[in-house]
């Protein structure tokens, strides 16, 4: 596998006057309580992970869990107190100001919770802004921005001001702006949290559609577990600055690493999250006639399977049988075993 696009090694972010010194003294053993007594607040505590090309990592946590701080460390909107961050192999924390600006102008895009649009610029001016900052000629930047306007479906509103748009529309502008420079890495900081549920769902679908087309490397911050499950390739769950678990949605639902994570998974309708692959058995005996793909979500095929008496064959992309699944297993997954960790 090629080099990860984003790589974090033991990243710490601690707020406070003598944070640096305290971190050094603690030898990497950061106890938030002791720090707090000394007037320091721990934002991110020993975060290590990698994000590979085209992958979407969703960081999930409640407010104050340090997820936004983590994102700001990786975009270097704030400097991490300790640890190393690599963006495509470049050591982010050692970049000088000019290189950092270059990196942001060409490689990074970011979407904000409160949209953060410039109030004095129209839709198209907002979207063209990063290009103009880069020094692109006005006509070129505007024509590129118009492409983006079309991409996010705001045609006809390019001369509106942000204040004349609804929240969903404003966030579309924010998304278009972050994509205008065609970045490889896309940061989204709770982009849909400020929107109404219906609009939110619409934007999520839109977002998935875009991502399918663009295949960016994404870090997506949210406090909504359902949103994380829906969008993520992998999910990192944070609490008090610590990453409690980092895994695929299925694994998190099936094997919560800590009590805290388990609480989130309890109410999750598993049939909507898990794939056949996640619950199948490897035995290939006593199979019936029905075959299902291993990539199906349980919910979609549950009815078919439940009407069978024998076990159902599970096949892969090449139509090869790789395992089986019993109707009873489906019933178990859907209705039982929520409390006792599989």
């Amino acid at each position: 596998m090629s080099e990860p696009v984003i790589k974090c090694e033991n990243v710490y972010k601690i707020f406070g006057a003598n944070a640096q010194k305290m971190l050094q003294d603690s030898n990497g053993n950061v106890d938030a309580k002791i720090f707090q007594e000394n007037g320091c607040i721990v934002g991110v505590n020993n975060a290590s992970f990698e994000v590979s090309k085209g992958e979407m990592l969703v960081v999930m946590g409640l407010s104050g869990s340090g997820k936004s701080t983590l994102l700001r460390c990786i975009s270097r909107l704030t400097d991490a107190t300790g640890g190393k961050i690599f963006i495509e192999g470049q050591n982010l924390l050692q970049l000088n100001n000019k290189d950092l600006i270059d990196l942001r102008r060409n490689k990074m895009g970011m979407v904000f919770q409160s949209f953060a649009l410039l109030p004095h610029k129209t839709v198209v001016e907002n979207i063209a802004f990063p290009l103009q900052i880069k020094g692109v000629k006005t006509e070129d930047s505007i024509s590129k921005a118009m492409d983006m306007v079309k991409l996010v479906g705001l045609d006809g509103r390019e001369n509106y001001f942000p204040r004349e748009l609804s929240g969903g529309q404003q966030q579309r502008v924010g998304i278009a702006r972050s994509l205008a420079v065609e970045p490889d890495i896309w940061f989204l900081d709770e982009p849909f949290s400020a929107l109404d549920p219906l609009i939110r769902k619409e934007m999520q679908d839109e977002f998935l559609r875009l991502q399918e087309k663009l295949q960016k490397t994404i870090m997506f911050i949210t406090h909504d577990f359902d949103e994380a499950l829906k969008l993520a390739d992998r999910i990192a769950i944070m609490k008090d600055g610590i990453i409690e678990q980092l895994d695929t949605p299925a694994n998190i639902v099936l094997n919560p690493a800590t009590e805290y994570v388990r609480k989130f998974t309890e109410e999750v309708p598993r049939e909507k999250v898990l794939l056949i692959e996640d619950v199948m058995e490897t035995s290939q005996e006593n199979l019936g006639n029905l075959k299902v793909s291993k990539d199906e979500i349980i919910e979609n095929v549950a009815e078919k399977i439940l009407t069978q008496e024998k076990a159902v064959a599970v096949i892969d992309e090449d139509n090869k049988i790789i395992g089986s699944i019993n109707p009873s297993k489906i019933i178990n997954t859907v209705f039982g075993g929520r409390k006792n960790n599989n």
Partner: protein, 717 residues
Amino acid sequence: MELFKKYPKTFQWLFLLIVFFALCFAIEVPETYKFIRGQAEFVKDPNQSSYVFLGKEVRYYAFDVFWRLPPLLGWLPIWINDSLFFLMNEWMPIEVWNEDTQEFKSRPIVLQISRNLTAFMTFLIELIREILLGGLETIVAFTSWDWIDKNPWAELPGLPWTIVAAGAALLSYKLSGKGLALFAGLTMVYISVFGQWKPSMQTLSFILVAAPLSFIFGLGLGIAAFKSKRVEKALYPILLVMQTMPQYAVLVPALVLFGVGDHAAVIITMVVAIPPMILLTLLGLRAVPPEVIEAGRMSGCNNFQLMFKVLIPTARRDILIGVNQVIMVCFSMAVISAFIGAKGLGFNLLLALNQLNIGLALEAGLCISLIAILLDKMSLAWANKQTDYFGNLTFYQRNKNLLFFGVIFVIGIILAYIGTFLFKDTFNYLFEIPHNKGISTADFWNKGVDWIFETFFVYIKAFNTWLIQDVLQPMRALYLRMPAIATIVLVVGAGYLIGGLRSALVVCALTLFIALSPWWDRALVTAYMATFGVIVSCIIGFTVGTLCFQNKHSANFMLGVCDIFQTFPSFVYLIPVMMLFGITDTSVLIAVIVYATIPATRYTIEGLRSVPAGLHDAATMSGVNKFQRLTKIEFPLAFPHMMLGINQTIVFALFMVIIGAFIGTEDLGQYILKALSDKKGAGIGLTLGICVAFIALIFDNLIRAYVQKRKKHLGID
């Protein structure tokens, strides 16, 4: 006891008042005390006491310290004065090359800097002035008088008024549209036809130098303060004092430093106009949401781009208010600085007021107000202007305004040329209508004033007498009757009860400064006039504001009226009241009331507007009627904001009281005015200014402390 526990604050206030009145009654008025014999006058009188500090002798009438504190700070004005002179005339001499005598000459560094600055300002003003009116100075600045003598053709001819008027209309059209263009055109035509062209252009050239410079420096310093905490901390106290210092007071030191003339006026205008610009820049930049800054950073802005493409445009609203303030102050100063020899409308206005020619004053005042409104609207339109990217414009369309101006220019020149034949023996009316050759309505107004006086003399006189005898005199007597110690106890006690120990100490220091200066009595008179003005203004302002708030359109209308009134230079307010009431305290007080009602009204409407809509609905659903909603919901919640309005009202009132000295009141302003013509007036003027500023700051401190507490209590930001 039960009651005491329930309302501890009320009893604390009650106790404070009891102490205050006890002190008032316990301390008798000394027999030798006479208000009119000013303590600040340094005449030799055997009854005077004296002391020497820092080599300055201070003479004063000694009283019981509880009655009036001795002027322990009496040496300060003299010291400031001597120091200024020392700076100007002796400190750090440097060698300067003198072009005329071809030799080096020794000159103090401050004087040299002041001369260079002066020369630069003079050049700028003359440049603009001569583009508008014509003249030699600019060309002389690049060459010499000798060269001019040999080349008599080399003179800036000045623009015919037709070109300036059409140009202003065209620019307004480009910036905003037909409405503003019409207004600009009519204003210019009015100015010209009524023979005010020359002074108006003189004033305009003064403004066109002072306003942009103030804007640039204010913005720059505001940015610096935003970026560095240290700069902010250093600037803040200066800003506070400068904002509350009456404009008169800064004139006097300016006289010493920069001499007399337009250049000194520009510099002093900048000194006055920059502080509000800094404060509003800072306020605006602070209010930019952090995510917008982050969005800018993530778009790859460097620091410069972040400041000028993200922060400042986002903070535009507050910065624009700053620009509005700058323009307001510039026009205000355009009048006041006529005292130190600035030419233009202000000078004519003062002259007319001095001669009691109300009609002439009115004309000049109207012109200056019209120009002020025009510039204000133009700057606003300029800031709101949008670029059109999609119009596929031809060369002609893109440059049509420029081309159009070219055409106007040529036509204007041709007209002026024709004019030389048409008006061979008189003035060329198509070039410039000279002062006093235009239409004048002065006689009409003067007759009107006379008519009002003759017709309503009895009533005005009766009102005047009643106000002065039954309201003002007793009030003044009451204020002067307060022993110094009682006043200090009252103010400091209020500070403690409202804002705690810190507030009490600040207020105490400010009060002591005034009490120890030689002008405590005058300060009391100033305070009494301001108090009267503020009370009446607040009553009017709150009532008008509340009534207008009941309807959205009337509220907007009222805010618009406030905007326009605020743009008028403060001096203009004196004209109509002098028309009606002549030269009395009543005139000043009415001007004070009119002027100070503006912020009171504005803040009332804005405060009531800031009450969340959800609360209105909640209140309506609880079944309150309109009146109950007003008294139970809207007033309590809007009150903190309205208090800030009172704060502004006090500052406005004090300014006007001081300006009112021009008509002859006997407060601090009178002394500032006197200091203007005094060779040693700089120190006195400055100290007096600080005294007035401190009066405002005492109230400012108390009100702010109260508002903060109240806001916290109500949970509003």
